[in-house]
């Protein structure tokens, strides 16, 4: 009569709820989340193992099984499920809380150990020295933030250290300068915003990073922040106020779109009739509700033909790099970032424009994996703008 029975653990369930999964019980297990999950779009082992509905069910019952690495760390926190949840369950908070039950107990998946370690030691996830944080500035003049500066430009760790991504930071600086924005960078004391590490479940480390940043920003007299990455934007806007860090935060695309409207930014030159498709990053789109600004900027590029991807705006498909997945190994053919490149190909785009350093890393790798790099160029919006101003 009986299948093997697992024992409920209300203690474990309570622990998860206390860690931040306050809406765990709201879930009625309809399964819309699992159906909308990008993992359904790809084949492979992880796709077969990871069902967000079931993971939440296991959490509700405190049943063992949710804590296996492939289930617990599969979610990219893209938010597709969360924005569509009929019960408004804060699914990502639930994921984060469930992860924290193991991470706080000292268990960190192998692939994430180095980034956690580096965040502790260097304040960045890239295992690079804090002193090298400004290496990206080589070859250009970047203003230093001082009390008289309007904006503090916070450059994402990825664009500080990753060679490809450093170009993004430089082009953003160039465009801001051309538009006459008053901005500056603080320097090596800056730490990672902590977005990813919070999603991984290391609440303590997140707090440490956030508090260090908040103290630093306050000390320097920061009132307004421009972020280069939507992930930093989300964290400063949504997580820092709870820790005492109230700042006016904008993504650089929002700021530039405003300047464009005011006529302070006037792209010239020519994109030679290239087709440009825009990929909405999850943390700029679904998580922050910014859909128009990037499109306004791309629309201002001379001689560029803008095309919409079939999955766009609220329905945009994740690049697969969020929630710590940037550091995950996924076999070719099982990455939904590859589908994103194919989306661009479907619309015969020459350029797939992104507005997030994670998307840049993921989609460029996927483009190479598909051997489409000759056909489709992955470009950051600021790079296109910089080329045309």
């Amino acid at each position: 009569m009986e299948m093997e029975a697992k024992e409920l653990s209300m203690e474990m369930k309570e622990y998860i709820v206390m860690a931040g999964a306050e809406t765990l019980d709201w879930c009625m297990q309809c399964g819309l989340c699992s159906a909308l999950c990008p993992w359904r779009l790809v084949p492979g082992h992880l796709s077969e193992a990871f069902y967000i509905r079931r993971m939440q069910r296991l959490g509700q019952l405190g049943l063992e099984g949710f804590d296996t690495e492939e289930i617990l760390f599969a979610c990219t926190t893209c938010g597709m499920c969360q924005v569509n949840c009929p019960r408004q369950v804060k699914i990502i908070d639930n994921v984060r809380s469930m992860r924290s039950t193991t991470v706080e107990a000292g268990f960190v998946p192998t692939n994430l150990r180095s980034i956690v370690g580096s965040l502790h030691a260097n304040g960045n996830p890239w295992s690079e020295a804090r002193e090298k944080r400004l290496d990206w500035q080589k070859g250009i003049e970047v203003p230093v933030f001082s009390p008289g500066t309007e904006y503090f430009l916070f450059v994402c760790c990825t664009s500080c250290y990753d060679p490809r991504s450093q170009k993004i930071a430089r082009s953003i600086v160039e465009v801001l300068k051309k538009a006459g924005v008053s901005f500056g960078v603080i320097g090596t004391e800056e730490s990672c915003c902590g977005e990813t590490v919070r999603k991984i479940g290391d609440e303590e480390l997140f707090k440490k990073l956030a508090e260090a940043n908040i103290n630093l920003f306050k000390e320097k007299g920061v009132k307004k922040i421009i972020t280069t990455s939507p992930h930093c934007l989300y964290t400063f806007k949504n997580e820092y106020p709870g820790l005492g860090g109230e700042f006016e935060v904008v993504h650089y695309t929002e700021l530039l779109a405003g300047l464009l409207a005011e006529g302070r930014l006037a792209p010239s030159g020519s994109l030679k009739n290239k087709k440009v498709a825009y990929h909405d990053p999850c943390y700029l789109g679904r998580h922050s509700g910014i859909y128009e600004a990037p499109r306004q900027l791309l629309g201002a590029l001379p001689d560029a033909e803008l095309v919409e991807l079939s999955r766009s705006r609220e329905r945009s498909l994740c690049c697969a790099g969020g929630g710590g997945r940037l550091w995950a190994e996924v076999p070719r053919g099982e990455r939904f970032g590859e589908l994103r490149v194919l989306d661009a190909e479907e619309k015969q785009a020459d350029i797939l424009a992104v507005a997030c350093p994670y998307c840049m890393i993921m989609l460029e790798a996927d483009c190479l994996a598909l051997d489409k790099q000759e056909k489709i160029q992955i470009m950051e919006i600021s790079e296109l703008l910089n080329a045309c101003t």
Binding site: K6, Q29, R53, R54, R57, L58, L61
Partner: protein
Amino acid sequence: MEKKMGIYVCTGCDIGESLDIDALLKVASGEYKVPVCKSHPFLCGAEGVELIKNDIAGEGVNAIVIAACSQRVNYDVFNFENVIVERVNLREQVVWCHPANDEDTQMLAEDSLRMGIVKAQQVSLPEPFQAENLSKTVLVVGGGLAGITAALEAARAGYKTVLVEKEASLGGWAAGLKKVVGLRPPYTELEDLDLAEKIKEVEGNPQITVYKSAQIEKIAGAPGMFDVQIRQNGSTASERVGAIVLATGAVAYDAGRLDSLGFGKYTNVVTGEMLEKMAANGGIKRPSDGKPVESVAFILCAGSRDKSHLPYCSAICCTESLKQALYVKEQNPKAQVYIFYKDLRAPGTYELLYQRVQKEGAIFFRGEVYGIGEVADNQLVIAAEDVLAGEGIKTEPIDLVVLATGMVPTTAIGEKLVIKAEDEKGAQEEAPADEIIRSNILNLEYRQGPEVPTLKYGFADSHFICFPYETRRTGIYAAGSVRSPMDIPTTIKDAAGAVLKAIQCIELTAQGSAVHPRVWDLSFPEFFMQRCTQCKRCTVECPFGAINEDEKFNPLPNPTRCRRCGVCMGACPERIISFKNYSVPIIGSMLKAIEVPEEDEEKPRILIFACENDAYPALDMAGINRLPISPWVRIIPVRCLGSMNLVWIADALSKGIDGILLLGCKHGDDYQCHFIKGSELANYRLSKISETLNRLALESDRVRMVQVDIMDYDVIPGIIEDFVKRLEEVGPNPYKGF
């Protein structure tokens, strides 16, 4: 009454352009010597109606045939006092579904007119049955929420009411509730039920006579004149009432049969009713030691939706359990609540209650409960399937387990009686019988048994879509959970609905009219007793138990119980039952009026007996949609297929008609027959004649019965065509020309 006939052919709505009207009028004036034969281009207009009225006043015309549109329309326009009106459907069933100016269409129109004329010749005007000493009082049986509401509604509508309750106080099940689910926004709070207020209102209302600690000893009579004997405190009171609302509710399923869920075995397994009592009287405690509970598990569908217990859903157990989960949480917000369910049925605003319980931290499990075991300190452990996790699970020790048991209608409790015709020759195939359960509620003095017939689970109801509230006994209307499992708001509405039906019955009975679905009908069956052989077919087969018997088995009709369906007329082998405007000879002469061409003309003739309730309107709709129908058919509407007497089939076949198609309502478990058993009885009777047909060297294929509903208009032409094809294979009726 000396009849003077008048025939009026309307030439509007395509009729004039499609038919030879002069030839049609010649049928009336020539073949039938009808003295007044006229046509008019717009008969239902003021001028057309005036034309008829002038002939009634001036010429003394008193039997009229209107050859125009369907009988289902303009019946109010063509309604003249003390004048017989017959309708011939030239529009929907002739010109709209057959080619214009065609020989066969003309023959069809002429046959239709012939049938109308002979019918008008034979019918007489019904004289309404006028009973004496009629009562307009409503009897409400059962003083729970439904009964109380029904009594108040009846009194508010101005009707005297008698309320009988077997317990010493009013209120029933609802009186034992601590709280009810809130029915106002935000729908998540528990509220008090204002039952005490209602009870006060009932007991203080001079229009309402309340009998408590009382039971119905006997009910004799019929609508408008039920004589009720009420036993109370050793004495008997008598009341005459016009109609009855049955509101005796339901009781909880016997948890004693649920030992697999630990009831009776473990002290801390209780029923929902027991929990409600605890909550209302000092709080929820463990029966084993009286300690307050730290964890409670609710098992929903305990013995419900389960073939070995109650196969159905009782509608309220899910929401009652959700409510009780909140009792637990209100008493101790930290208490752990587990809810095991098969499907959680919390529709409408109950969804918001469900969400609240979820948000309060109750854990829901969908799946089968494998078993319950007792561990130390009388705590319980439940092993179950969790479909959502895809795992078997075992709970932590729980203080209290609550079984949400379902509803058993009070009409389902008692000895089962199956009412059959007693056939002296013994084992013959029996006509479908009603099941009546001796539940000791109404104690009717009816030939067919002391209670209302029940549906398959013992609920007292008729067809739940077409005739809610109506039981299979005219004048007795069921309300609340005796009729179907229902929640509190539905019960309140239900009680009001049933009372309205009771009032309609009282008023229509006073007018001598039938109740729904033949509200306008003043006719009633008359019995030519000299020829009765006391075979009891009519008394047994009447779907409404309208006919009692005397000690010599003579039928004793009760006209106010009668629905005028004519099932008795179809049942009677001696053909002694007839209505003034509907009888075996009337329909017989109609079908004999059909002209049957010689075999070599290759124009077969098919007779359709179409049920007036569904098949006939469906045929009209086929016409409205201009769907072509075979020109060989001739349609006779019948009140119910159950009123079809087998002699009509014999008459039609011996006249040379090639085939007979019976279009009636769906029968069986989800029957749609307006008279419950009519189409089923027709089917049963038909099964008996195929043998006879074969003996006469007539293929039994010549008679076919098809079940259609009102929406089947689009398939009806195909049904007919299919029958035509089969008849072509069978060949012409050999009796043609005899």
